[in-house]
């Protein structure tokens, strides 16, 4: 495989030779790049909405920030559903775009849980982030946005984060009796539930 990949990275044959060098930027000289800090360079996010949210939720919201022009806020886990409800009812954020998670195994609060909401009226999209430890059961958002049902099921399936009071907390993409949660960082890419594969497919391994 590695040999194949190397072969692929050479410029494709049969193309006008003038294009790739021009496109790749030619003999671009390399200035020594300044060492980038290993944190996200965010800028503060201040607006009418953040002032309003700050008044209502106070200490529950830890940070209002913006990165690449995209606004997000970091909140305590128990405040997420009230914030979603407030945003929907008072600020017009009536469309929950996505719920997802990111795993940072070295952190004590292992998971970032991310909710993306959009407002049709304001044409604005914001993210709500919260940090939770492994085993914490965040409250379900289905009471505010029914679409969270499948999205949260997928988060459970992939990360093993159970949502409290979810109407149907089952796996969605993987088989119900599968062991392990594949999008956790400690789950290898070649790993699979060999017991399940053997019981259901009658082969030793799917790889």
């Amino acid at each position: 495989m590695p040999e194949e990949n190397k072969a692929d990275s050479s410029p494709p044959p049969g193309k006008p030779a003038a294009t790739p060098p021009k496109a790749a930027g030619g003999g671009e000289k390399k200035p020594p790049p300044p060492k980038k800090p290993a944190v996200m360079e965010t800028s503060p996010w201040e607006s009418e909405l953040t002032a309003q949210l700050g008044r209502v939720f106070g200490e529950q919201i830890l940070e209002f920030a913006s990165y690449l022009g995209q606004n997000f806020l970091v909140a305590r886990p128990e405040a997420v559903v009230p914030i979603l409800k407030y945003l929907r009812d008072e600020a017009g954020f009536d469309y929950l775009v996505d719920v997802t998670a990111v795993d940072y195994p070295e952190r004590e609060e292992r998971f970032d849980l991310i909710y993306i909401v959009y407002s049709f009226g304001r044409n604005e999209r914001i993210r709500i982030k919260t940090r939770i430890r492994d085993g914490y059961e965040p409250e379900t958002a289905t009471v505010v946005h029914p679409t969270a049902n499948w999205l949260e099921r997928e988060v459970y399936d992939m990360f093993g984060i159970r949502f409290a009071h979810h109407p149907d907390m089952r796996r969605i993409l993987l088989p119900d009796d599968w062991q392990g949660h594949p999008l956790r960082k400690d789950y290898g890419i070649l790993e699979m539930d060999n017991r399940w594969v053997k019981d259901n497919l009658g082969i030793e391994s799917g790889q």
Binding site: A23, A24, Y67, L68, V97, D98, T100, N123, W150, I189
Partner: protein, 370 residues
């Protein structure tokens, strides 16, 4: 208590799929029926799950790009565009104007191809066989353009992070223009076959209704939302890739039923032709690839970028830890989210309508399961 007669039928649980021609792939729907009436449905998905997001974490940014084509494989160009835009956002670069124009042309052609395939198979499900042959004829022309451009017909990998890999081939403008000219009368042909067709209307009008309010609750986007009367299209709301330069309309309808979704998609194909005609008229000169460097290494950060794919809002949420591989790639697939509304649309309807309703959502299981 009188004796139970054969008329007091019990609830019947009917299993549809995963191997069923009208589920458009490996979708399994469990139907709870009372006679002909649907009491409830449950979707069982995941048969096509390949762990695309996990693969993304284990590949470099450039290596992952061909994988996204395999999600919505009938609109691979849109998937690629969304992914490239998301990585470009993280890198804080923008594709050059020439690349943007070519991207718009190919993406809109792909939208037409996707809608054509939907129209053909949806009509086939309802029992109209003829449209399938018509739409395949035109789709072939589009796939020929893709093939001439990048060598692939379906999973094209047409774009690169920062722009394009290939220059426009000799005669592409002419071929695209010829397609546009030929295509509009063909749309009239489809409409002649279907729009006022008595059987077509009987099967579609009032079936699978989803109101604007329900669409928002379930996060349903794309033609389903527009058929319910919400004039919302990301190409207008948050333009990307230079869509703000083109003059086009967002077709909407008000009833939110299966028939209205058909009309909306037909109109969208006409609007796509309008966009392509404008874009192909003035493809700017210049480079086709922005300066992104050989090794793509975005700074630490995260970004969510979404585009209007043929099926709805397709979003990519990418977290970068400053290395050459994404720390996390999340795909927000329109088909997956839209499919969730199936139960609401089907409940209370007739079992014969379930095929029409699955067809009208326009799902691609590769994208639902990822």
């Amino acid at each position: 208590m009188p004796e139970a007669t054969f008329l007091d039928a019990n609830e019947l649980v009917l299993n549809m799929g995963p191997q069923h021609p009208s589920t458009h792939g490996v979708l399994r729907v469990i139907l709870k029926l009372d006679g002909e009436k649907i009491l409830g449905t449950e979707c069982v998905i995941g048969y096509l799950h390949r762990g695309v997001e996990k693969i993304g974490e284990n590949r470099t940014y450039a290596m992952f790009a061909p994988y996204v084509d395999r999600m919505d494989y009938v609109a691979a160009v849109s998937n690629g565009l969304g992914y490239c835009l998301a990585v470009e956002k993280l890198l804080n670069v923008e594709a050059p104007p020439r690349a943007q124009a070519v991207r718009v042309i190919l993406t809109e052609l792909n939208r037409i191809a996707s809608h054509l395939l939907w129209l053909g198979t949806h009509a086939l499900d309802i029992g109209a066989i003829t449209p399938l042959f018509y739409v395949m004829r035109e789709r072939e022309e589009i796939l020929n353009i893709f093939e001439a451009y990048c060598g692939a017909r379906l999973t094209t990998h047409a774009f690169r992070i920062g722009g394009l890999q290939y220059e426009v081939y000799e005669g592409m403008e002419r071929q695209v223009k010829a397609f546009c000219k030929m295509f509009l009368p063909r749309v009239d042909e489809y409409e002649e076959l279907l729009t006022e067709n008595r059987i077509w209307k009987d099967r579609l009008v009032g079936v699978g209704v989803l109101t604007a309010e329900q669409c928002k609750q379930f996060g349903v986007t794309g033609p389903l939302l527009r058929a319910a009367g919400v004039k919302w299209d990301l190409r207008k709301a948050q333009p990307y890739s230079g869509y703000e330069k083109y003059d086009f309309e967002i077709p909407t309808r008000s009833n939110g039923d299966t028939y209205d979704r058909y009309i909306v998609r037909i109109q969208e194909m006409r609007q796509s032709v309008r966009i392509i005609e404008q874009a192909v008229e003035g493809i700017p000169e210049g480079p086709i690839l922005a300066k992104v460097g050989k090794v793509i290494k975005p700074p630490v950060g995260e970004a969510y970028v979404s585009i209007e794919a043929p099926k709805g809002e397709l979003g990519y949420f990418i977290v970068s830890d400053g290395s050459t591989q994404p720390y996390r790639v999340r795909v927000r697939p329109p088909s997956f989210v839209n499919l969730q509304a199936l139960d609401t649309m089907a409940r209370g309807g007739l079992v014969a309508d379930i095929v029409a309703i699955i067809g009208t959502i326009d799902i691609v299981l590769g994208e639902v399961d990822r």
